[in-house]
Amino acid sequence: MLRAAWRDVRFHPVRFAMSVLAVALGVAFVSGTFALRAMLSSTFDGIVDSTLDGDAYVLPDDGSTYMPPWMSEVNTDGMVADSLVPLITPLDEVAVAFADYTGPVLLVGADGTRVSSGGAPSMGLVVDDAASRDQWFEITGVAPRGEGQIALEHLTAQKAGLGIGDTTTVVVAGQAPREVVVTAIVSSTNGTPFAGAVVVGMDEETARAAYAPTGAVGTIVVRGAPGTSQGDLARAVAAVLPPEANATVKTGDTLRAEARESINAELGFVSMFLMVFAVIALFVGGFIIANTFAMVVRQRLRETAVLRAVGASRRQVFASFVAQAAIVGLLGSVVGVGAGFGLVAIIRQVFAAIGMALSGAVPVTVSGLVVPVTVGVVVSMVAAALPARRASRTAPVEAMRPDSQDTQRSTWLRGTLGSVMTLAGVGCLVGAHRAGDSGGPLLGAAAGLILVGLVVAAPALAPTVVRVLAAPVAAVSKPFGTLASRNLARNRRRTASTAAALMIGMALVGATTVLASSARASVDDLIGTQIDADLLLDGNASASGIPAAAVDALADVDDAEVAMVSIAFGTIQPAGGSASDLIQVGVMNPTLITRGAFVPTIISGDLASFDEGIAVSEPVAKRMGIAFGDQVTVTLARNTPLETTTVLPVQLVYTTKGTSEDVVVAEQTMRSLFGPDAYAQVVTTWQGYVIVDPGADPAAVRAQVVDIVAPYMVVSVMDAEEFASYLSNQVQDLLKIIYALIALSLVIAVLGVINTLALSVLERTSEIGMMRAVGMGRGQLGWTMVVEGVLVASLGAVLGVSAGVGIASVIPSIAESVGLGVLSISWPSVVSLFAGAVVVGVLAALWPAARAARVPVLQALVYE
C-alpha cells in the first residue's frame, strides 16, 4: 500500500505540488516566527554580553530585576551615588571600579541631520584608553579628551558618514548642542552589531557632567583582581557599602541573566504577537491541507474501490492515505522551513534598510527546525485522517458508481453550534461595551467566540451568503453567476474552509482599519477639546525628551507664554493610608492650565487657585481614597541619592480624556524641591505649549521658537493641526508593521483559494468537458472560474470584515482611558477592503481559469 501511495504522488504531480505548497506555506510562517524570535534575542543577548562584562555591579537596593538603561524609554529605576567608587577601589579583590556614566545622546551626521537609531537606543558612554576599564571594544585612533572630542562605534560612524578628524554636533543629555571632533572609532571585540544603536563615546569627566551631574548613576561596575571569583568579589564589595547608601551588589553573571530575562520579557510582546500570526498561519495552512486531502481522497475514491475490490483492507486504504499525507507533510515542511528562513532573511534586509542591524546569521536551532517540521507533518496527517477514514469506510460498489457528486452531508449541527458560539460572542461584545475600562477579557472572549463560531458555522452560512453575493452577477451575466454560486454551494464545506482562511485575515485588517481611524479621531477629539495652545513642542524624537538647555532658552521667547509638560515618577501616600505603586507625576506650569492650553475636566477644586499643591486624577483619587483638601505625602526620585519626600495639599481632582492615571504638581514646586541639576535628572520634558499673547504675530513667535530649538534637532514645533497628523502618523507607522504581517497571512489565504479552485477544476473535468461540448467558450469557462474566485473571496471578506469591524468597534468603549475613546469607522476603507477582496478573487482565479480553459474538450469528456 505504501507503494500505491507513492505511485499516486508520482503520477499526479500537480495535485501533489499543491498539497506540498499548502503545507510549506503554513510551516514557513511558523519557522519564520521562531527564527525571527531567535534572531532578535540573540542580537540583544549579544549586546548584553558585550556591554555588561563586569565581574560585579553595585545597584540601588530596590528589589527590582535589572533592566539595561537602553531598554527602558524612561529611566524609572533607582540610582546609586558614584561617591561609593573610592570605597570599593582599594579592596584587594578589586582590580578596578568605575561608575557607569551612560545616557541618551543625539548625533548629527555628515548630512546635517540627526542619525536615526531606528527604534534602537542612541546612547553615550565612556570610552577612554585606560586598559583596565571596559574591554568590550577595540579602539582605533586616540581616545576622546574633554568636551570637544568623541569616539564613534564603527557602524554608527558608517551610518553617520563620519570618520576620524571630522567635525560634527552632538547633544548630550539635556545640554546645549556642541561642536565636537571625532578622534576615535571603536568596534565591539566580539563583532556583535548593536541592533542599529547609535553609540557615542566620550571621556569620563564629560560623561559624568552630562549624565550624572549630581553623582547619581544607574550602576557601578567592578572588575575583580586576577584569581578572585565573582561571588567573593561581590561579598567583599558588599561589605564596604554603608547601609545608608541603599545599594546592593550583584555578580556579573546574575546581572547578565537578569538583563536577558528582562529583555526577553520586553521582547515577549513581540514574540506573542508573532506567535499569534503563526497560529493563524498554521490554522489557515491546516485548512488548505485538509481541503486538499478531502479532494485527493474524493478523486481517488474509484481507485480506492478497485483496491478494496481486489482485497485491500480498510486499514490498508486508510494507511495509504495517511502515509501519503506524511510524505506530503514532510516534504512541505522541509520546503517550508527553508522558505521561513528566506522570509527572515528578507525581514533582516528590511530591518537593515531602516537602520536596525540584527545579528549576522539567521540562527538555525534544533527547536527552530524540529518544531515546524513536526507541526507540518502532524497537521498534514491529522488533516488527511478524517477524509481517509471516510474513504476507507466507503463500500467498494458505492465508490465505483459514477457521479455521486451531489451527495452532501448535513451541515445542520455545525450551523447550530457555530451560530450559538457567534451569538454568545456577540453577547460578550455587548458585555464588554457595557463594562467599559474592565471589558478587556470579555472583548478577548468575544473575539475568540465570534471568529471560531463563524468558522464553525461557515458551511451552513456559505450557500445563502454566496447566493446573495452572486445575485448581481447572476442578473447581468446569466448562467455564470448561477453556475459559480451553485458550484460553491455544492461543496459548501470546502467553500467555507477556503473562505475561512481569508476571513481571518480580513477580520484582522477590518479591525486594524477601525483602530487606525478611531485613533485618528480620538487624537483630533483630544486636541479639539483639551488643547488650546497656538503651538506645540514635542521631544519624542529623543529618548531624553526636550533637552533642559532648550527649555531654559525657550523662557526668553517674546510675545508669548511658553510652558512645559514634564514627567517624573514617584509614590503618593494619603494620611493614614499605604503608599501607592510608582506612578507618573506630571509637572506643569499652572499658567498653562489657567490660560486654557490644557483643559481637564474639574471634579472638585478651582483651577485658578492651583499653585503649590497637588492635582490628583479621579481614578487615582478613588482608588486611594483621596479627596479634595487632603494632605498627601509625595515621594519623588525613589531609591536614588536624590530621593525627596514632601507633604502637599490636594488642590484639584480632575479627569482628562486620553491621560492615564496620574497626579500633577506645579513646576515651581518641583524646581524648589530639587536643584537645577537634580531637576534635570529627575524630570523628563516631553512636550511644551506656546500661547501667543493677544495682538502678537503668531508667525513671528513661531519663527523665534524654531530658531531656538532647531540646533537641538529633536524638538518639533507644530500647530494643533500638524500635531494631530503627527500623533496619528505615529499610530500609522505601527500599523504598517501589523499590515505587513496581515499581508503575509492573506497571501497564504489567497494561495488557498487558488489551490481550491485548481483542484476543483481537476475534479470537475468531465463537467467542464460537457459544457465546452455544448458551446461554452474558453473565455466563458474562465469567467465562471473568476466569478467563483470572487465569490469565495467576497464570502471571506463579508464574514471577516463584519466580524473585525464589529469587534474593533467596541475597543473605544474599553480603551477610553488610554486615549482611544472615539469610535470612527472609515467606510471608504471598508469599501476598499471589499474591492480588495474582489481583486484577490480575480487574481486567485487566473491560473485555475487558464488551466480549465486549456483542458482539451475531448479529453475532458472521456476523463476517467
Partner: protein, 250 residues
C-alpha cells in the same frame, strides 16, 4: 465552396485519425468517407475499438482528424479556430452523451437553456414549450439532475440538444445507461424529432435495438466503414453483425 448540398448535413472525406506514434500508433480511423443525410437518423455501429466514437467526435468538431476533411452544416471544420468551433457547437450542433450529460448544480430548465445563454441568445418560448411537452418534462423543470431518473435525465439532455434548433444532433450511446423502457422512450422521442420536426441525428451505439430506429446504419470496423444499411430491420442489423462475427471466427 459549399460541398454540402440539400441532402447531406455532414460529410467527411479521407478521414484518418492516428493516436500515438511509431510502433504504438493506433489507426482509429483509416480513411473514412461518409455523407450523412439531412432529416435522417443515422446510426453508427461497430465493436469496441472500431473507431465509431472517434468518427463521431471528428464529425462533431470535438476532435481534430490527423488527415482528411470534415464539412458540418456547410462549413469546413478543418480551418476553424477553437473559438469558431465553440460557436459552431453552440449553434449548429446538439449533443446527447451517455453520462455526465447535465450540470449537476443547474435545474432541468436551466440545463436545457444553457446553450442559449452561453450564446447570449433569446429563448424561443414556443419552441421550448413544445419540446418540453413532447418530452413530458413539464412537471420536472425545477428539479435538479439528482432528483431525476436516468430516463428523465436523458430526456432533459435531448431537450437541451434540441433547444438551439441545431443542424444536427450527435448522440454517443444516449441510451447506454438506461433500462429497456426508458431507452424505448428516449429513442421514440429521437425518432419523432426526425419524422415530425425534420431533425438530423447521428447516434453511436452498439445496441442493435437502437439501430432499428435508424434510417441508415453504418458499420465500422478497424477504422473503416464495412457495411451501410438503409432502413434496417432488426434482422438485417443482426445479420450484418453476425457476418462480422463469422468473419472474425473464420
Amino acid at each position: 465552396m459549399n460541398t454540402c448540398d440539400d441532402v447531406s448535413v455532414a460529410k467527411a472525406t479521407g478521414l484518418t485519425k492516428i493516436y500515438g506514434k511509431g510502433e504504438a500508433a493506433v489507426h482509429a480511423l483509416a480513411g473514412v468517407d461518409v455523407e450523412l443525410g439531412r432529416g435522417q437518423l443515422t446510426a453508427i455501429m461497430g465493436p469496441s475499438g472500431s473507431g465509431k466514437s472517434t468518427l463521431m467526435h471528428c464529425l462533431a468538431g470535438l476532435d481534430t482528424p490527423t488527415d482528411g476533411s470534415v464539412w458540418l452544416a456547410g462549413a469546413d471544420l478543418g480551418s476553424m479556430s477553437d473559438r469558431a468551433l465553440t460557436a459552431m457547437r453552440r449553434t449548429k450542433v446538439g449533443f446527447v452523451f451517455q453520462a455526465f450529460n447535465l450540470v449537476a448544480t443547474l435545474t432541468a430548465e436551466e440545463n436545457i437553456v444553457l446553450p442559449l445563454q452561453l450564446a447570449h441568445a433569446k429563448v424561443d418560448q414556443g419552441w421550448f414549450d413544445q419540446i418540453v411537452d413532447v418530452l413530458g418534462l413539464a412537471s420536472r423543470l425545477k428539479h435538479r439532475p439528482s432528483q431525476l431518473s436516468g430516463g428523465q435525465q436523458q430526456r432533459v439532455a435531448c431537450a437541451r440538444a434540441m433547444v438551439t434548433k441545431p443542424a444536427v444532433i450527435f448522440g454517443d450511446e444516449p441510451t447506454g445507461n438506461l433500462d429497456t423502457a426508458a431507452s424505448r422512450d428516449v429513442l421514440g422521442f429521437l425518432r419523432h424529432s426526425v419524422d415530425e420536426l425534420g431533425q438530423s441525428l447521428v447516434v453511436v451505439t452498439h445496441d442493435p435495438g437502437t439501430a432499428v430506429f435508424a434510417d441508415r446504419v453504418l458499420f465500422l470496423k478497424d477504422g473503416q466503414v464495412v457495411d451501410d444499411l438503409a432502413n434496417p430491420t432488426q434482422a438485417a442489423v443482426l445479420g450484418a453483425l453476425q457476418a462480422d462475427v463469422d468473419q472474425a471466427v473464420r
